[in-house]
């Protein structure tokens, strides 16, 4: 058991770092294909982290969650996303509102900020997974930043999905898994939220003939 006790915190931190790293990878890529690939890898890393926590934390429900997560976020949603950008065009995030170099600096600042705001949390916690918590909060903030700073509706969807991954990671690290029924409800909401966003992208494409959200600026006062 002693070997496990030393190994678990390290593996948990490693898993969380990988999940965060794929989130940052979004920021230095431009093509929507690369966005989807980064999201797919991130979800895979997340599913493995879930399984890891399930194994060391002796919570076998987490295996079920990891499998559902992998099916949903590694297979189903990325394939829908790929089909979506192939149909509506606009393969590149050509001119984000914030350029790539600045985006990366901001991402660094956001992760530092998340270390500052989660300090009380990490201080009171005795969980072996506590070192991953600032990374999860950092990923949540990066997800919000992607939504704000990117112009293509599809990039914003990926930003939202990354944000959801950050929250799932936070839940797994902080609580070793929330009750299964809640987890299922969350998955259902993510899937339906994604499908609604997809429908809206088609509607934006139909009515505006482009998915650049720059054009969504009619409503004022």
């Amino acid at each position: 058991m002693n070997g496990n006790d030393a190994l678990f915190p390290q593996l948990a931190t490693l898993g969380s770092s990988l999940v965060l790293l794929f989130g940052i990878a979004l920021l230095w890529r431009r093509s929507l294909g690369a966005y989807v690939r980064a999201f797919r890898w991130q979800s895979l890393a997340l599913a493995l982290t879930f399984a890891l926590i399930g194994y060391f934390g002796h919570n076998h429900e987490l295996y079920v969650v990891a499998v559902i997560l992998a099916v949903l976020k590694v297979i189903i949603i990325p394939s829908y996303l790929t089909r979506l950008y192939e149909r509506v065009g606009g393969r590149r995030e050509a001119q984000p509102y914030v350029n790539i170099a600045t985006s990366l600096i901001i991402a660094g600042l956001l992760v530092s900020l998340s270390y500052a705001i989660t300090r009380p949390l990490v201080a009171v916690s005795k969980l072996p997974t506590r070192n991953g918590i600032p990374l999860a909060v950092g990923l949540i903030l990066i997800g919000v930043f992607v939504i704000i700073s990117r112009r293509k509706a599809l990039s914003q969807i990926v930003g939202f999905l990354v944000l959801e991954n950050g929250i799932a990671l936070l839940a797994a690290l902080g609580t070793y898994g929330i009750p299964l029924i809640v987890e299922l409800g969350v998955f259902l909401d993510v899937l339906m939220g994604f499908l609604v966003m997809q429908i809206l992208v088609y509607q934006i494409k139909d009515t505006f003939e482009s998915i650049d959200v720059e054009q969504l600026s009619k409503l004022r006062h």
Partner: protein, 488 residues
């Protein structure tokens, strides 16, 4: 059993509307009548709670629970839903929707109502979250029912802002649960509100503070507390009037309910008025932004949306002012639900008559449609808090609770709020004057659009006036029961 009578009707209604193809008006009527069952169940719960009965629970792991607070919200949601379903397109209104649009509307609006009722009857705070997230999904699809450029734009902004907000609320829920797990280990029903509340005093205040900030920002986005209110004028302005009515009355109330539930837990864990101060600060910001936005509005639907932001601010204020404030805030919530569910229908009728939502265009309303115009004017006067309507009483109670506080800075805050209300008041009256009087544009034909639908709206307005003249005894005892739950 009562829970089934509450939750099943909207679900059955959605299913029925989905199966019957093509849409027929009988489906709309049937669904409207069915919603009376929900309303009845909600009233039974409210009566039970007002008599001080033990909160009934239902389902595995006490999934559903109806204490006084839940019961009050059930009545608000069910009553607004019933009114909406009777006034819906495809029931009484002539609209240029196609059969497919009517059918889609009936399915989605009933699912929307179902998720709101589930959110207020859920005992588990995470299930409450799941239900609230579902409301975003169903309402987003309804906003684009007309499929115009501006409605698609509004819906996209609403979905993005709403989803981010609700995701942050989930992070807050997890943080609240996080401390619980660290404290008591993994337990069955740990996310049930009474269990959470019971363990709250032992929770770490710093963690709870962080959790509450996430929850306030998250659910505050759904409620439209400034500065997270930016989706509100877009969504309310572009949504079909029936949906705007339901979102501004019922959905808003449900989001404030979620904040209140967590505030009680936060208060039990953190002692130094932390949640109160946050609510007061955001309340003042909402009032300020609303007051100046109303002055600038050129569109009466967006003006009503800013009125919502104003009342959001007032209710935040009340929730942050101790027991008397909570009483006033909840009464205000009831009044607001009654007033707002009428106003968007009237605004929708005015827009159809004039063909434009611009205040400038809608001149001479009293000449064109005296009944619609009169009701609209009365509703707006109720919203700005004039007697004899209910909001006068609740705002009065709210300010009395504020000025009774010992801290001089709270009194200063209340004085600032009063000033902002005055700014909003002047702007509302100016806009209303421009709409009511003057010569109507030549191309607008005179006549009422609403027809028989004026009757239920008149009934709503009478209820609002009644709440201003007297506080019905059952409502008062129910509110007192709730205050006992909420501020201990």
């Amino acid at each position: 059993m009562k829970f089934l009578l509450l939750l099943l009707p909207p679900f059955v209604a959605a299913l029925g509307a989905y199966m019957v193809r093509p849409y027929r008006a009988t489906v709309g009527w049937f669904n409207a009548l069915l919603s009376l069952v929900s309303l009845g169940a909600a009233l039974v719960f409210a009566g039970h709670a007002a008599r001080g009965g033990e909160a009934p629970v239902f389902g595995p792991g006490e999934l559903l629970r109806a204490d006084g607070l839940s019961a009050l919200l059930m009545v608000c949601v069910a009553a607004a839903s019933t009114l909406t379903l009777f006034l819906s397109p495809g029931v009484g209104t002539e609209t240029n929707y196609t059969q497919a649009q009517f059918r889609r509307y009936q399915v989605l609006i009933n699912l929307f109502i179902f998720s709101m009722l589930l959110a207020v009857s859920a005992n588990n705070v995470a299930i409450m979250w799941v239900a609230l997230e579902a409301t975003t999904i169903f309402s987003a699809l309804l906003i684009t029912l007309a499929r115009s450029k501006s409605s698609v734009e509004a819906s996209w902004k609403y979905v993005l802002i709403g989803s981010v907000g609700i995701a942050l609320a989930f992070a807050g829920t997890v943080l609240g649960y996080f401390d619980f797990v660290a404290l008591a280990g993994r337990a069955e029903n740990a996310l049930n509100w009474p269990v959470l509340l019971q363990n709250a005093p032992a929770m770490h205040p710093e963690v709870m503070k962080l959790a509450f900030v996430f929850l306030l920002v998250g659910y505050g986005t759904k409620a439209g507390i400034a500065p997270m209110h930016t989706w509100k004028p877009d969504a309310y302005g572009e949504a079909p009037p029936a949906l705007a009515a339901l979102m501004s009355s019922a959905l808003f109330a449900v989001a404030m309910y979620a904040i209140l539930r967590w505030k009680v837990v936060a208060d039990a864990a953190v002692k130094d008025h932390y949640a109160d101060n946050l609510l007061l600060a955001l309340g003042l910001l909402s009032l300020a932004i609303a007051a100046f936005s109303v002055a600038q509005s050129r569109n009466y639907k967006r003006m009503l949306a800013y009125s919502s932001v104003e009342h959001t601010g007032l209710i935040c204020f009340g929730l942050g002012l101790g027991a008397a404030g909570v009483f006033a805030a909840l009464l205000h919530l009831v009044n607001h639900t009654a007033a707002k569910s009428l106003m968007f229908f009237l605004a929708g009728d005015i827009e159809r008559r004039y063909g434009s939502p611009a205040i400038k265009q809608a001149r001479g309303l009293l000449k064109v449609a005296p009944w619609t115009g009169g009701l609209f004017a009365a509703g707006l006067l109720a919203l700005v808090g004039l007697p004899p309507f209910g909001m006068f009483i609740s705002e009065f109670a709210l300010f009395r609770a504020g000025f009774a506080q010992h801290h001089p800075w709270v009194r200063g805050l209340m004085a600032a709020a009063l000033l902002l209300l005055l700014v909003a008041f002047v702007s509302f009256i100016t806009h209303l004057n421009r709409m009511l009087y003057g010569e109507p544009p030549a191309e607008v034909a005179a006549g009422e659009t609403a027809g028989w639908r004026l009757a239920p709206m008149l009934l709503g307005l009478l209820a609002l006036a009644m709440l201003g003249l007297t506080l019905p005894a059952p409502l008062e005892t129910l509110l007192q029961q709730i205050v006992r739950i909420v501020s201990r």
